[in-house]
């Protein structure tokens, strides 16, 4: 299958892992953070850790736009939709994320009209098809998904569709990376840069990581070969003591980003002065809100938002896992009180969440490697 099989070719993967082994300094312990939740999942899904030497450690970053939402925002969105005649529409990712009184799916089971949509324009379609209802689209995502929300709002305004609004929880990636680097808990050598956010923002926004923080960053694709090649590129930079931004995902990511997408975002959104992130606290200029020109399609201005701040259960260590300070299984609740079926935090249910990745793919692997060689 094109664009997939070539990047899963066994011989190339084997050769690239051998190259990694040649490049590592055995006396050194490397700490690479993969920012994006999609990369975290790829690592586990393809068993990439099995292919890396022990002194290359991959640390999971906060690149899961659902996981970083404080529970209070989920509660707010659900509260808005509890009014009569409101349809709550969101991506599949959102459906099992726990709010204080349950997840959207649980609200659906209790009678609320909850629909999974695959794009915000599908939510707009719902509005056109249900004129007696109001469709509230719970928008999430980094800059990856913000442009399509922007385009949908532009279309809603152009067509005068009044029974539609967006509860905007888009966040931006650069402040999250800055918060990680500013955190005293973290000592990182380099970054595996987010692939799909970069198709929108391009590679320039990461230059300060190389120039000011002196850390290499390679923008990476999501197939096994992409990630292994990115690690090779990082190791080469470290070996020659360079620090620059490199683009491994050239087939998808343009260096300058997507002008049209950025223009649409600028037309519809502006930065919030500050926004609360689960685990990282309040970060200024890190999230998007809808501009006044589109106020009529902003759920927060159409409706009264409760705005209650909900702290995570004390024992839950979502924050530390999000920052990469703890690995998922090091959280006291992992696999016990917190599982995909009864999650305490979004990290355990979101398809980008590191706890979910670890739970689904890793945590019961015991002497699997030796077993594999015996069955070959």
């Amino acid at each position: 299958m094109k664009f997939v099989d070539e990047f899963r070719a066994p011989e190339l993967i084997t050769r690239t892992s051998e190259e990694i082994r040649r490049l590592v300094d055995p006396a050194r312990h490397y700490r690479f953070m993969e920012v994006c939740g999609g990369h975290t999942h790829a690592i586990y899904r393809f068993g990439l850790k099995d292919l890396l030497p022990d002194n290359v450690e991959l640390i999971h970053g906060p690149g899961c736009p659902v996981c970083v939402l404080p529970m209070g925002r989920i509660d707010d969105g659900l509260a808005l939709s509890q009014q009569d005649n409101v349809i709550f529409a969101a991506f599949g990712d959102m459906m099992r994320v726990p709010g204080t009184h349950g997840s959207p799916l649980e609200y659906k089971a209790r009678g609320m009209d909850v629909r999974i949509v695959y794009s915000p324009s599908d939510a707009l379609k719902l509005a056109r098809a249900n004129l007696d209802k109001h469709v509230m689209f719970f928008a999430i995502g980094f800059e990856t998904t913000a442009p399509s929300t922007a385009l949908t709002l532009m279309r809603a305004r152009a067509e005068g569709i009044r029974n539609f609004s967006v509860f905007c929880n888009h966040v931006t990636i650069i402040p999250a990376i800055r918060a990680i680097l500013d955190s005293p808990d973290m000592r990182l050598d380099a970054f595996i840069g987010p692939g799909h956010v970069s198709t929108v923002i391009g590679c320039r926004p990461y230059e300060w990581i190389a120039k000011e923080e002196r850390k290499p960053i390679v923008i990476s694709g999501f197939e096994p070969l992409d990630m292994l090649q990115s690690i090779v590129m990082l190791l080469r930079q470290l070996q020659t003591r360079e620090a620059k931004v490199e683009n491994q995902y050239k087939r998808v990511v343009p260096w300058e980003g997507n002008r049209a997408a950025l223009k649409a975002m600028a037309e519809v959104f502006q930065l919030r002065p500050y926004f609360e992130w689960r685990g990282l606290g309040f970060i200024s200029q890190s999230a998007l809100r809808i501009r006044d020109a589109y106020a009529e399609w902003d759920s927060e201005r159409r409706f009264d938002v409760p705005g209650v701040r909900v702290t995570d259960p004390k024992a839950a260590q979502c924050g530390e896992v999000l920052k990469g300070v703890l690995k998922p299984h090091q959280c006291k609740l992992f696999g016990r009180e917190c599982t995909p079926e009864h999650p305490i935090g979004a990290l355990m249910v979101s398809s980008e969440g590191s706890c979910a990745a670890y739970y689904n793919y890793e945590h019961r692997k015991t002497a699997a490697a030796t077993m594999l060689s015996q069955t070959a």
Binding site: Y118, T144, T145, E341, R364, M371
Partner: protein
């Protein structure tokens, strides 16, 4: 909803509520069909309900699913379906043509599968219930000679056989709901697997330890159930699993795992190693069995779990389905 999806929640519902209250004195693992003996004659009985939406889809309809699903549950329990009873729950306002089409489909499927429909019931419920129609079936079958299906007889070293490509049915249903702007040349794989099972029994009967049809919850769920029931590990080779490109493409696009997608015309079997060549050859020679493959091996570890190995040395745990397969976005 998760309790009907075939994965963990479903299993907990059965093990935690139904089994203890309804059949507390029976022993052994939960199976697709129950085996009984009345006055010395052994037979198997199974029951199933069909609530698929939409009623008609490329490759089949609810009527065919109902017949084939019942025949297959019996087949993987080592039985040849002989008779079926059918219940229809119809939504008021269902057009007669729709009902007639389904009844014809059932009749044709029953004839193809060699099973007689001997009893039935009909109820009508208010408009807005039953999604058009729900069908429930009960099937009774005679035991196929030479087969002894029991998860507890599975041993390390046994081979895991898959009868053909996975994911066709689930993806076809997903696409035919029309919510996604996705088109593919795909149709449901619904068919009776009895002819394949009988050929397998003839070629490798004494070596067949266990069989299951991977419907809701997919291959991952069925293999996890096996791992749980026999306490051993199942290691599968992802490269060996047959899957049509269209299914792979749809799954990649939507972020779904083909191993969790429902199938309606396939089965898994665990075969003792000395019979595995004969078993695979027998299937590959049959029309409809050409794509059968050995996809894995039973091992001591990881005990109670399923591991998928990649061709380049990586591996991952394959878990049972939790909830409904939700497509990934982002």
């Amino acid at each position: 909803m998760a309790h009907g999806a075939g994965g963990k929640a479903s299993r907990r519902l059965v093990e935690g509520l139904f089994a203890p209250l309804l059949c507390a004195d029976s022993t052994g693992p939960l199976t697709d069909a129950a085996q009984l003996s009345i006055e010395g004659t052994r037979f198997a009985i199974t029951t199933d309900s069909f609530v698929v939406k939409p009623l008609r889809f490329p490759g089949g309809s609810i009527g065919e699913l109902a017949v084939n699903g019942t025949v297959n549950d019996l087949a993987v329990s080592g039985a040849r379906a002989e008779v079926m009873a059918v219940t229809y729950v119809l939504e008021a306002g269902l057009p007669t043509e729709v009902l007639e089409a389904e009844v014809r489909a059932m009749a044709a499927a029953a004839q193809r599968a060699g099973v007689r429909i001997v009893s039935g019931d009909t109820k009508v419920v208010e408009h807005g219930k039953a999604d058009g129609m729900y069908v429930t079936t009960t099937g009774i079958g005679s035991m196929i000679r030479g087969l002894k299906i029991d998860a507890r007889s599975v041993r390390p070293g046994d081979k895991v056989l898959l009868s053909g490509p996975i994911g066709d049915h689930g993806i076809t249903i997903l696409l035919s709901r029309g919510e996604l702007d996705l088109e593919a040349e795909l149709c449901s794989d619904t068919r009776p697997v009895l002819p394949l099972v009988e050929a397998l029994a003839a070629a490798a009967g004494p070596g067949i330890r266990w069989m299951r049809d991977p419907t809701r919850g997919g291959v991952a769920t069925s293999l996890n159930e096996l791992a749980c029931d026999c306490g051993l590990g199942i290691v599968i080779d992802e490269e060996k699993i047959p899957i049509h490109d269209a299914v792979r493409g749809a799954c990649e696009l939507l972020g779904l795992d083909p191993l969790h997608i429902a199938n309606e015309g396939q089965f898994l079997a665990v075969i003792a190693p000395e019979y595995s060549d004969a078993a695979l050859n027998a299937l590959n020679l049959l029309p409809g069995g050409e794509d059968a493959r050995m996809i894995g091996t039973v091992c001591e570890q990881p005990a109670g779990a399923v591991l998928a190995a990649t061709s380049y040395g990586g591996s991952r745990i394959v878990d049972m389905l939790v909830g409904d397969p939700l497509p990934r976005i982002c």
